[in-house]
């Protein structure tokens, strides 16, 4: 089967332009899917945008869910319009109708810029500085993508991207070697250490009625619960009074995962 876009003499400019259109189409497509799904489900975690919007508006004194619904619908509408025009641009681009692709991409860019501008205004109102930075960065990336896309039209290049056989063979062999080494390491780690995801940990007595538990990075709530169960079995005469989680500034950077101390007293 011959795919229209896949051409042996495809210039680097065309590949980058295709990548830009593909990236933004997929970006908005998954944002819409995230809105349609709403919460978490099998094979999709996403982000609970309704809860996020609801909390934002409630913090500003607007507790009705309809306000959050309306805001979310407006956001979803803008995202859908951006997606449809970007997808249209991608289709036209694949069909080599570059003028139409440019116009459709431009409309998609405008919808994207409007969306991120509105989000940034919201971030100011709700005082979320991290999201303000995130949305400003995306706003800029959109603008930058458009300029790069247009700029790549101006100097068409017809570079020869083909490699000679020796280069292909060498890079192929090197890649296969690295893939085998990396995969073996990953599989070996999985075989030898996956138990850390599920198995209970031992508690180390550090002083009278104080026990330390050092979590591996793989540990989660299951490990925590099993550890408490093991502790209760190992020390049936102790009652847990308090669990002290060592705060991050007291841990060794990156080397320490979760550490907590179990503080007990003797059962009467």
């Amino acid at each position: 089967m011959r795919i229209p876009f896949v051409d042996r003499n495809t210039a680097t400019n065309q590949l980058i332009q295709f990548s830009i259109l593909f990236y933004w189409s997929i970006f908005w497509f998954f944002n819409i899917v995230d809105k349609v799904i709403g919460g978490s489900m099998f094979l999709w975690v996403g982000r609970d945008r309704f809860a996020q919007f609801q909390k934002f508006f409630a913090s500003a004194g607007l507790e009705s869910p309809w306000i959050a619904n309306l805001a979310l619908i407006v956001a979803a509408g803008l995202e859908v319009f951006a997606f449809v025009f970007l997808l249209g641009a991608l289709i036209y681009y694949v069909k080599k109708k570059t003028k139409s692709a440019r116009s459709w991409f431009f409309i998609g860019v405008i919808f994207t810029l409007i969306t991120f501008t509105i989000f940034s205004i919201g971030d100011h109102i709700f005082g979320d500085r991290f999201e303000l930075l995130e949305h400003t960065l995306f706003w800029f990336l959109t603008l930058f993508s458009w300029v790069v896309f247009v700029r790549l039209y101006q100097k068409p290049e017809n570079e020869n991207l083909s490699l000679n056989k020796k280069q292909i063979l060498l890079s192929g062999l090197l890649s296969i070697f690295l893939i085998v080494v990396t995969s073996s390491s990953i599989l070996s780690y999985n075989k030898n250490y996956f138990y850390r995801r599920t198995d209970a940990l031992d508690s180390e007595k550090v002083s009278e009625n104080i026990f330390k538990v050092t979590f591996p990075f793989l540990g989660g709530s299951t490990v925590f619960e099993k550890t408490i169960e093991r502790f209760n079995s190992a020390y049936p005469d102790k009652k847990i009074n308090h669990i002290y989680t060592v705060p991050k500034p007291l841990r060794l950077k990156k080397a320490d995962a979760l550490i907590f101390y179990i503080i007990t007293e003797d059962k009467r």
Partner: protein, 257 residues
């Protein structure tokens, strides 16, 4: 309409609103109805306090200086937007440049302060804003000098795109409303506990839950298990949560009375 004019308008509009709301945030320092914002005064007090400058005059003066620069930024961008709307593009570019210059200066000062106060995350944040401002200016200038493409799309195709968009938006809207109706009760309903270890109950709080849900959950638990005495409540740290799936894990340690 020329593509570059639309984009230049978007750039000016974004930065005008950015600074307008930053100034407004300084005018409304506290949380109010329809405005949350950020408490910059508290932030400045803590920063200066960490340097050993406990007198509130220092953060007050610093905040007043920052607010003045932000107000100046806003005025420059607003003037650029007004001139651009009047089609005085050269004058608009001059005002935009003044705005960029003062904004970059402000973020430069913020970055110096971040180094002094040792806040590396804010240093990254301000460094990125600084970069985006400079890049915005370069892009604005590039747009001014670029070709004069006029936006042209076929009416029929646009109509089809709008129709598809409306259908997709309707589908998304139904889904959003349905999800909202199904989950909104999470803002007000107690969470049900699961006994994971003998006398230890786990509560998986949904993202929508807040302090009122916590109170209702504990009260409900006491009603459901009158024979149990709560010894201790442990808030599961983020390391125990499956990424993003749960907002909060709570463990209640009990014993029989």
């Amino acid at each position: 309409m020329k593509e570059k004019n639309i984009l230049k308008f978007m750039v000016l509009f974004f930065w005008t609103f950015f600074w307008a709301l930053s100034v407004l945030d300084k005018i409304i320092p506290d949380v109010n109805y329809l405005w949350v914002g950020k408490d910059f005064f508290a932030l400045f007090v803590k920063f200066f306090g960490s340097l050993g400058l406990k007198n509130p005059i220092f953060p007050t003066l610093a905040l007043a200086f920052v607010s003045s620069l932000e107000a100046l930024n806003f005025i420059f961008y607003l003037l650029a937007l007004i001139q651009f709307s009047k089609r005085k593009t050269e004058l608009a570019q001059k005002w935009f440049f003044r705005g960029i210059l003062t904004s970059v200066t402000l973020f430069g000062l913020f970055s110096i302060a971040d180094q002094v106060f040792g806040d590396r995350f804010q240093l990254l944040e301000h460094g990125l804003f600084w970069l985006i401002l400079i890049a915005s200016w370069i892009l604005y200038k590039y747009l001014s000098e670029s070709d004069l493409a006029i936006l042209s799309v076929k009416n029929k195709e646009v109509k089809v795109a709008i129709l598809i968009s409306i259908v997709l938006t309707s589908v998304a809207s139904f889904s959003i409303i349905d999800f909202s109706q199904n989950t909104f009760s999470n803002t007000d309903s107690p969470v049900e506990g699961v006994e994971v270890v003998k006398d230890v109950y786990k509560f998986d709080f949904p993202f929508l839950a807040d302090k009122r849900v916590w109170e209702k959950t504990i009260n409900q638990f006491k009603i459901d298990y009158p024979e149990l005495k709560i010894n201790y409540i442990y808030t599961g740290p983020s390391e125990l949560n499956s990424k993003k799936k749960t907002h909060l894990l709570l463990y209640v340690f009990t014993e029989k009375m």
